[in-house]
């Protein structure tokens, strides 16, 4: 019988081996997918047990998000509160056990929860430190952000301001907003997500909505044309109107026919026919190449959840990005045809202005300035990182002068500030079959050594509205606040 007993023992070895194998399967090999399982609420529950880190404005004092304790003892949990209400609702987002996280609360979740890897956790336990989240200091300027929200008032739109040299996002405003303090209320959340809700308050228009850029896109066309050597700012071009583009007549704003004009004059007065011809001259290949350098055709490289952002570029009727086969002349002036329309996010247009302002060098946009541990130690300082060299510094310089002329004597005079020179470009795109306008202003200041770049856009403005009249003043005020503040 002894042989059979040994066989049984061998079988036990195998069976227990299977137990260990399956335990390791769940605890190690498939742990990640189990942790991500939608039915698994452990992560959120555990995060609630420890206070999340604070989210602060640029000044390091203004609290945007904090965790307040609720209950006592074992049952104590922390609930997120947002003292600034809807002002920072879009860039910062929310974090609740029921509806999860969004925006910066989501992209910086690991830092905010103090989530470490396996060995980091053990190290922390050996030091018998409690689990605690780090604070996230954002680049957002509280005064300018509040002002931007106030300026947008009850209109739908967005204002984005960046530091061209560092990529720090100083303002990221989007209206209409929502109050992150109440968004976890099931009734409120359901109403916000109702497909019939045309306000779409949860959408962060700064990074998530595609708009026609109108004439602000001429900056991209000009950059491509100048940098590829097709023209110089002083090249004389035909500004007569109308002209045939892709077989269909194209007219200037108000039907004004300019005759021969320099490129600078054409940008200053936003002459459609000149830029449409220029677009055809440059060709869609070169134009797309420069767009890609500016960051089009990919999600913005922002520290923000990727699925909460939208790429800019030429989109066909199905909404898909296309890089060829479109009406390059009309795309060059910020419009398009049946084969593809140029569609952009406000952040993308702010990046266009920033790249010009920064000598042609595009710096990755960043919402976070640094991550600070509870004991004051700086865990991570977000250093500026170059995304691309969009154009030669000389091209950027030429473009800067041309854009300064727009504000000095062209369509963008409403963006001028006293004592500080501003460069910019206006845009007005017809939407809803000409029944409404999308108005734009992009620009930067001061011209001599740019410190802030900005993009302002408003949705569904009445016929007769324009970027120069309706968007440019908003840009001027926000720029003024930013320049005074620092």
């Amino acid at each position: 019988m002894n042989r059979q007993i040994l066989h049984l023992f061998a079988l036990t070895l195998v069976l227990f081996g299977v137990l260990i194998a399956f335990t390791s399967r769940w605890s190690v090999f498939e742990a990640e997918s189990l942790n991500d399982n939608a039915l698994n609420r452990r992560g959120l529950l555990e995060q609630q047990k420890a206070p999340r880190g604070l989210i602060l404005a640029r000044d390091g004092r203004t609290v945007i998000a904090q965790s307040d304790p609720v209950g006592r003892g074992e049952a104590r949990v922390y609930v997120r509160r947002y003292p600034e209400g809807s002002t920072f609702g879009h860039p910062v987002g929310y974090s609740y056990i029921t509806i999860g996280e969004s925006a910066l609360e989501r992209s910086r979740n690991d830092a905010l929860t103090g989530d470490l890897d396996e060995f980091g956790t053990i190290f922390r336990e050996l030091q018998s430190r409690a689990r605690e989240g780090d604070d996230v200091v954002t680049a957002l300027d509280p005064d300018a952000q509040r002002q931007a929200i106030d300026l947008l008032a009850d209109r739908k739109g967005s204002i984005v301001a960046l530091e061209p040299a560092t990529g720090r996002v100083r303002v990221s405003a989007s209206t209409p907003g929502y109050d992150p303090n109440t968004v976890d209320d099931p009734a409120v959340f359901a109403a916000l997500n109702d497909p019939d809700n045309t306000e779409r308050e949860l959408v962060n228009r700064a990074v998530q909505t595609n708009y026609p850029p109108g004439s602000t896109f001429k900056v991209v066309t000009a950059a491509a044309a100048l940098d590829s050597g097709e023209v110089t700012p002083d090249s004389i071009l035909d500004g007569s109107s109308p002209q045939e583009v892709s077989g269909v007549p194209l007219a200037n704003a108000g039907g004004v026919s300019y005759g021969p004009v320099t490129l600078t004059t054409a940008l200053t007065n936003s002459v459609n026919t000149v830029f449409a011809r220029l677009g055809e001259q440059v060709g869609e290949r070169t134009l797309v190449e420069y767009m890609e350098r500016f960051g089009f055709y990919q999600d913005p490289q922002l520290d923000y959840p990727e699925d909460e952002m939208t790429a800019s570029g030429v989109r066909n009727a199905d909404g898909r990005l296309v890089t060829s086969g479109f009406d390059v002349g009309r795309v060059a002036i910020g419009q398009g045809g049946a084969e593809g329309q140029i569609q952009v996010t406000p952040l993308q247009m702010a990046e266009v202005a920033a790249a010009v302002a920064n000598g042609g060098k595009l710096i990755r946009p960043r919402l976070t300035e640094r991550i600070v541990a509870k004991d004051g130690r700086v865990e991570e300082d977000i250093e500026p990182a170059q995304q691309s060299q969009v154009m030669k510094p000389r091209t950027a310089q030429q473009l800067t002068e041309m854009m300064a002329s727009v504000v000095n004597e062209g369509t963008g005079t409403a963006a001028a500030l006293s004592g500080v020179s501003v460069a910019g470009k206006t845009g007005t795109a017809e939407v809803s079959n000409g029944l409404a306008n999308q108005v734009w202003f992009i620009g930067f200041a001061p011209v001599e050594s740019p410190r802030y770049a900005i993009a302002v856009t408003l949705e569904d403005q009445p016929v007769g509205s324009s970027g120069g009249v309706d968007a440019a003043p908003l840009a001027a005020q926000v720029l003024q606040t930013l320049l005074e503040g620092s």
């Binding site: 019988m1 007993i5 069976l15 299977v18 605890s27 049952a75």
Partner: protein, 484 residues
């Protein structure tokens, strides 16, 4: 060093573990170490030493490792239960004391386990009666669809835990008697033609059935093994009359599935039965017939017993939202897997795993009984859980060693059966928690909370030690030596 001294030294790490474990849990819960931890450790060590002294007096030659290993498991269980619920741990400690008394009583009242052979049919009857008890009106109680518990006023106990001992004792003594006649090797060399026919016809039939019915792979494999086993068995022409009781046991196991509606305990009982049958007869063919009959029967019955079927469905697809939200659905197994994923390689640490929701509800159902292994993996990680399995493996190894050293058939079969049923119980519950097999309500021996479980396993330990003492004493007297 004598066996008993080794046993005493074996208890040292156990008491250290109790102290360290309680300290860790207390620190995690209240951020302070009180002298309570030392008190708990000292009391536990005192009890263990008392048990040890008793063994020293009554069973001086018994295996020196079984007792400390059981104490280690019990200590570990106490710490885990204390971490889950301090009140339950107090109760468990009381059960442990009662279990220790029962342990000593068993050793005291049963100086020679061969006495059991005389009462084998009485014991078998008691075993069956115990199994049926939960189905009786008034005292029977249904837990999660299975009939495993009996309620007598405030006391609730699980008779199956005791029934397993009774059935093993019966089988060991029955098989000791019949193993010789059960399969007599009456092999006469067959002519090649006869061999061809013997294997060829069933093989042809099997292929025919396979093609005609278009069976599922699992069913086909089952049928294949069954056919092969039957043919091999038939070739030896066993005496059919002795198979009567064995068929009875198969019928009993099937009935158990219907009566107590628990796949896990049925698997445990029947598995132990097959293990004993294999050791007694040395015929894999019998095991093959038995196992295929069991799984075939179980598969057929599962369809009829809704509760068993739903257990299998939730096992196959625990993350199906509908099953997850159904009452008695896959919530339990899904939470078990989530808890293990949370543990990772090293675990969250004693007292650190998430057990309670903010509203006070438990996130892991039955954390102190069925799913305690999931909590252990959560807190101690893969390493801790593997360590626990290794302790069980050591216990099982010593159990089989006892069987190897025993000098007579009954002792060998008894030790094998007790060890096999113990190992299978570990496999059934840990396998259920880790989704190797469908999850069923069986306790983790010595670790899970539960009076019946502790008491029954203490008796199991006592029986093993009695067998071991006899076997080793005979060897020591005979001067064979070489004992470990």
């Amino acid at each position: 060093m004598s066996a008993r001294t080794r046993e005493l030294f074996g208890l040292l790490p156990v008491s250290l573990l109790v102290c360290a474990g309680f300290a860790a849990v207390l620190v995690a819960q209240s951020q302070e170490v009180s002298d309570l931890t030392v008190t708990y450790g000292a009391v536990f060590l005192g009890l263990c030493v008392a048990g040890h002294v008793f063994i020293r007096l009554r069973l001086p030659d018994a295996d020196p490792y079984l007792y400390p290993l059981a104490a280690l498991l019990a200590a570990f269980g106490l710490v885990m239960i204390y971490r889950i619920d301090a009140e339950l741990a107090r109760e468990q400690a009381q059960w442990f004391v009662i279990g220790l008394v029962l342990f000593c009583a068993t050793i005291y009242l049963l100086p020679d386990h061969h006495v059991l052979e005389r009462y084998r049919y009485t014991i078998a009857a008691v075993g069956i009666a115990l199994l049926v008890l939960p189905r009786l009106p008034i005292i029977g109680a249904q837990v999660n669809g299975a009939f495993l518990a009996v309620k007598l006023g405030p006391i609730q106990f699980q008779p199956a835990e005791f029934a397993k001992l009774a059935i093993i004792v019966f089988l060991a003594s029955y098989l000791r008697d019949t193993r010789e006649v059960l399969v007599r090797a009456r092999l006469t060399p067959l002519t090649p033609v006869a061999t061809g026919l013997l294997y060829g016809i069933p093989a042809a039939l099997f292929v025919l059935v396979l093609v005609a019915l278009d069976l599922e792979p699992a069913v086909a494999v089952l049928l294949g093994i069954f056919t092969l086993s039957v043919v091999t068995l038939v070739r030896e022409r066993p005496s059919l009359k002795h198979f009567g009781p064995l068929l009875l046991i198969w019928g009993a196991a099937m009935l158990m599935l219907v009566v107590i509606r628990d796949l896990g305990s049925s698997l445990m009982f029947f598995g132990a039965f097959l293990a004993l049958l294999y050791v007694a007869t040395a015929r894999l063919s019998i095991v093959g017939v038995g196992a295929t009959l069991f799984f075939g029967g179980a598969a057929l019955l599962a369809g009829a017993v809704g509760h068993v079927q739903s257990r299998i469905d939730t096992w196959l697809d625990p993350f199906d939202r509908e099953l997850y939200e159904a009452p008695g659905g896959s919530f339990q197994i899904a939470q078990s897997l989530f808890a293990q994923a949370d543990g990772g390689l090293f675990g969250q640490g004693f007292g650190q795993a998430l057990l309670e929701l903010p509203d006070g509800a438990r996130i892991i159902p039955a954390a102190h009984t069925d799913l305690i292994y999931a909590v252990i993996t959560d807190e101690l990680g893969l390493f801790g859980a593997s360590g626990l399995i290794l302790v069980y493996l050591l216990f099982v190894a010593r159990g089989f060693k006892t069987a190897l050293l025993a000098s007579d058939g009954f002792s060998k079969l008894l030790a094998t059966g007790l060890t096999a049923v113990f190992a299978l119980q570990v496999f059934v519950i840990v396998g259920g928690v880790t989704k190797v097999i469908p999850l069923t309500g069986v306790t983790l021996p010595f670790v899970s909370y539960g009076g019946s479980s502790i008491l029954a396993n203490m008796v199991l330990l006592a029986l093993l030690l009695i067998v071991s003492d006899h076997g080793r004493r005979d060897r020591v007297r005979a001067g064979t030596g070489g004992l470990v």
